[in-house]
Symmetry: C2
Subunit: 671 residues, 2 copies
């Protein structure tokens, strides 16, 4: 690649794009870590995108009708930090660039949502950004259909590398986008032929253009260092009827000694080579210095966006006051005002006509009451609609010809579903929930972790939550999955016991603004355990006394979900023998842990022996069994210590010893 | 679909294939659960495959040179159970078919490896079987290159459905197989246009043939109900130069009222409809009855395989006795006899020249000693070779022109890598280990769970095992991942502290025959903590006293991996204040849990306060802090309770309070 020729052909563009390269080289050298090559290689594409296409206003980074720009190849974080600094996003100061990857800086190693305005999603784990983008584009289509193009009318642009495209989740995303003709989604593939281990050809021979085309995408290509060609390709992609992929042929670490090598992927910190690259670029000045005219040009780009945003404000103001308030509410992610009343009505009706009901069916009943009053919900299932009970009659189908529909057949794509839900939540204006079997939490796990890390109030409806699913056997029976979600910071795990608790847990999940929820729901029918109505949400404190001991309290049985019924039976047996036994229902360990010590001690006083009952592994329970500092009491656990088996569920509960009899025996052994 | 026409065209074939359909209908009806439609739809394909192509011997189901048949669409388990019963696999009796999905039966809801000979891998979680198959085919290519076609020369056949192809992991598998031209791999796609939620078109428009072709596969198609056409396609696929995919156009639940509908996917139990289908088939007799001539034909198929197997035994016998013994050992999965000596030599050298070393680098040193003496190891990395330190100089590259090479660039495909490793372990004759960052355990998780469920001694080399990785930030910093792997049944988690422990843990991992191992290794350099040589493997008991208290033992510090060094520093400080402090290194909680109570009490006696130090979440630690039944002592934990951050690692340890000072303060607060 002749740098001199590139400079000569488009001298102004060259210097503007090279500002990204120079800042990247300087920041990575200062941090002595990071990834130089990708921002250097994609600088031309980004410059054309930001100057000629992207609708953005650095003064209003959260403006709901901005175009979204997603750096799926998150390791190239200096690309986005450079762009945000150059165009004048207030928080991204030169000091932040100089403190790249340091403690307290918003310029983290990988772009982190919430740390810095202008970063639309946290990326780094490969394949996530491109898959989030599908959710962004779906949200835009959906909101445009429901609110009109005057308030929602924008594009989603993604820069993705070979790593993103090799991760399996990208195929799920490609499949969803192609099926739903998400024409506002444009993926710019950094086609540089390099991965960390060496040339892409070491590990892949996939014809990416053919692969995308096979799933209904429109495919384009361009010379990723020729601004005119890049502009032509993006213009064509915007006009395409389907989602568009542009293969941008680039040179990683262009102009550096490490150009076109896997070394160029990483941190280029050699000072001599760094200066040689800058010399080749014709880049003047000292480290972190951008020529005034270049900086001024970048800053001028915001003006177009500011105008677009001002026009948008005027259009938004034409909506009724009520509509404007609703728009603000859904973008703020606040629950609907009528949610509480709807939940209380379900609870009251449940107590008036108690029935044996699987909690997944209970969930459907709750959703039937919630979805009409909280119309920003957007639901789906990974090909288990009839099993996850996520679909209610009023939702309508989201489809090419019905973008206002609120239900999505995700296909057999748990990971893509979770990533897209993250994208929808990040976009704002919709509140996504979707289901799969709890065991397949595993498939969605990388995106579920990112829901937690980003603080997105996505709801995961995980049905068939134990060996209680029966005949499908151990591959489908979660055993360790409650522990897995509970081990994850900033994640609420709910395991409700009956319709009343399901209603309470849904209310809590839908009231979150910064935390995802996992609802663990049973396949099998369960007895109602909450028999008296109260408007109070008893699940809100995570655990509460469901049944009190008669006389002296000698045993506390703690249980969740389907095992609460078993705890109540065990209590009956113990009480019949004169052993005072309290039953604590604990639908959410995290919410209980968040209570003050006085409440926790009230529910779980020291003294009585404790037996927990849950059809999962013990890990995570000891804190409640033994007390955080020990010495609280003697304790034992009734649950699983192995994988499950294939048989009718009643038999499995018996064979694995998750029974009232076992709980009674363990309690008595401790007394 | 005119059943009558099909019957008339190939009357003998029809009855043979319909035996599968009839058994499926009867077994699902008896179980009142299961999946009828897929075995009914693919019965013709399976019949042609088993009768004209598959090399198998029901009398020797573990014969190393058999063709492998993988039912990736595992919900259609009655297809494989029918085939095994019909062809005369000894364990699959008619009683087992009648007890489909019942407690104690080997005919579990989904096919489970180890339960029934003839089931090559556990399937059900979609996309796994097809991805395992890539490992099977790689193992065959590799062993054929190293041992010669006279002892390894077979095909891997897969039946996969739309669910398998929609799961992202399938793309990773397709990419690997295409890149490596695995021409002995043949995927039979059950192209029936139906998923659980309805028509495939509801969720996908992918042109699967174009998609496979884009990754270098040879693509064929056939009428999945025409035996001649099926035979033609399989014959062509076997002759192809690349991996082959055959799109088999089929009708799900063919001949039943539910044909071509999503209802047909599930359990067809209506007795009238069942009988109507059998009448249409022209199927005689009562439930579970197969006409004698049909059964005899199926049983006769084994004869060809028995001959092939006898010929193979003769060829095997031409190898030297030593070679034969080696062949038997590697297929039995036993460690090499010289493994122990190699490990002890590393340990001795480590103690003689102690050095600060990251445990990932220590791992490379150990592997450099192990790989030459245990030549069945097969290594790789998901595009992090230089970071995971999994490659040693003697391995050579596995590639199209060097099938004997033992190192694989998996690409950015953690999930596909794990699934393929499962396949290699299942195939036998190779012992796979591969690496990625520990945080990306998440991506590989569905296959890691199956390693555990199937009892496969795969080794996962998970480097960058905490916030100790520093600047890459929270997306790359595992926090909950030790807890996740520890929560999983039948999984050994090792977190060694220095080169000596790394050597011991590798010895333990490579000595397993029925359990996968996760090696958690540091990015950052660590001080040597084992300063005296012993031939004994101290890590084998999971935890041991690394440094004893001086005088009265008042504190026990328990730590793993990179935090053992911190525990030793904390001990020094406590001892300096006259507080007797023991340090316990706990490289594996699972192995410690497996010791008898006497040993556990010796290492962790009741009385002293306990403080555990690990740069991960507390979940999983309480058992060792508080004792399994409580009252063991006061205890506290130094670790993480949130996600990490992006900064140099020394700063992170300080900011998150994982320091000797914090451990000292917590211990003293408890005294």
């Amino acid at each position: 690649m002749e740098i001199a020729a590139l400079r000569a052909r488009h001298p102004d563009h060259w210097m503007r794009a090279t500002a990204i390269r120079a800042l990247t080289l300087d920041a990575v050298a200062a941090a002595n870590s990071g990834h130089s090559g990708m921002p250097m290689g994609m600088a031309d594409v980004a410059t054309v995108l930001f100057s000629k296409h992207l609708k953005f206003d650095p003064k209003a980074p959260r403006w709901p009708d901005r175009d979204r720009f997603i750096l799926s190849a998150g390791h190239g974080s200096m690309l986005i930090y450079s762009l945000l600094y150059l165009t004048g996003y207030q928080d991204v100061t030169l000091d932040q660039i100089k403190n790249f990857r340091q403690w307290g800086a918003i310029t983290a190693g990988h772009p982190e949502y919430g740390h810095v305005a202008g970063v639309e999603t946290t990326t780094g784990p490969l394949g996530q950004g491109i898959s989030n983008a599908v959710g962004f584009a779906m949200a835009e289509e959906h909101l445009r259909a429901r609110w009109g193009a005057k308030v929602q009318d924008h594009y989603t642009y993604v820069i993705a590398g070979d790593g993103c495209l090799m991760e399996g989740v990208s195929q799920e995303a490609i499949g969803i986008a192609g099926r739903h003709k998400l024409s506002r989604l444009i993926v710019l593939w950094d086609n540089n032929d390099i991965t960390i281990d060496g040339k892409v050809s070491l590990s892949d021979v996939t014809d990416q253009k053919a692969r995308f085309a096979a799933s209904g995408w429109d495919v384009f290509e361009c010379d990723g260092h020729d601004p005119d060609d890049i502009d032509r390709a993006i213009t064509a992609a915007k006009a395409s009827a389907g989602p568009a992929m542009i293969a941008c042929k680039t040179h990683i670490a262009i102009g550096h000694a490490a150009q076109d090598t896997s070394k160029g992927h990483g941190a280029l910190t050699d000072k001599t080579q760094l200066q040689a690259a800058k010399d080749a670029y014709g880049w003047p000045g000292a480290a972190f210095e951008v020529p005034k005219d270049v900086k001024a040009w970048w800053e001028s780009l915001g003006a177009k966006g500011a105008k677009a945003r001002a026009d948008w404000e005027i259009r938004l103001a034409t909506l009724s006051a009520a509509k404007q308030a609703e728009f603000a509410r859904i973008f703020a992610g606040e629950p609907a005002p009528k949610l509480g009343a709807a939940i209380r009505a379900v609870k009251k009706a449940a107590v008036e006509a108690p029935a044996k009901l699987a909690t997944r069916s209970a969930s459907e009943k709750v959703l039937a009451a919630v979805n009409p009053v909280m119309t920003e919900t957007f639901a789906g299932s990974a090909d288990l609609t009839g099993s996850n009970n996520t679909k209610t009659s009023d939702l309508g189908m989201f489809d090419v010809s019905s973008r206002g529909g609120r239900y999505m057949y995700w296909g057999i794509r748990e990971h893509g579903m979770a990533a897209a839900m993250n994208g929808m939540a990040l976009h704002g204006g919709v509140r996504p929930y979707s289901g799969t079997f709890m065991a397949f939490t595993d498939y969605a796990r990388p995106s579920m972790r990112l829901s937690a890390l980003m603080g997105l109030p996505v709801v995961y409806v995980m049905t068939h939550d134990s060996i209680g699913l029966g005949e499908d056997g151990p591959t489908h029976q979660p055993v360790e999955h409650l522990a897995i979600s509970r081990a994850t910071p900033n994640t609420l795990v709910f395991r409700p016991a009956d319709l009343v608790e399901v209603a309470e847990c849904w209310e809590l999940a839908l009231s979150q603004t910064g935390t995802p929820s996992v609802l663990a729901l049973s396949r099998q029918n369960l007895a109602a355990v909450r028999t008296a109505h109260t408007n109070q949400n008893l699940s809100a404190k995570g655990a509460y006394v469901l049944a009190e001991a008669t006389g002296k309290r000698r045993v506390i049985l703690i249980a969740t979900g389907s095992e609460v019924e078993i705890a109540l039976k065990a209590r009956e047996a113990l009480e019949a023998e004169g052993i005072g036994t309290r039953v604590v229902s604990m639908p959410s360990m995290e919410l209980f842990a968040a209570q003050d010590e006085a409440y926790r001690k009230k529910v779980l006083p020291a003294g009585p022996v404790r037996v927990a009952i849950e059809a999962g592994v013990r890990q995570g329970w000891d804190r409640w069994l033994l007390g955080e500092r020990g010495r609280d009491g003697k304790a034992d656990f009734v649950g699983m210590s192995s994988f499950g088996a294939s048989a009718p569920y009643e038999r499995l509960y018996k064979e694995f010893g998750i029974t009232a009899e076992a709980a009674v025996a363990k309690a008595k052994a401790l007394l």
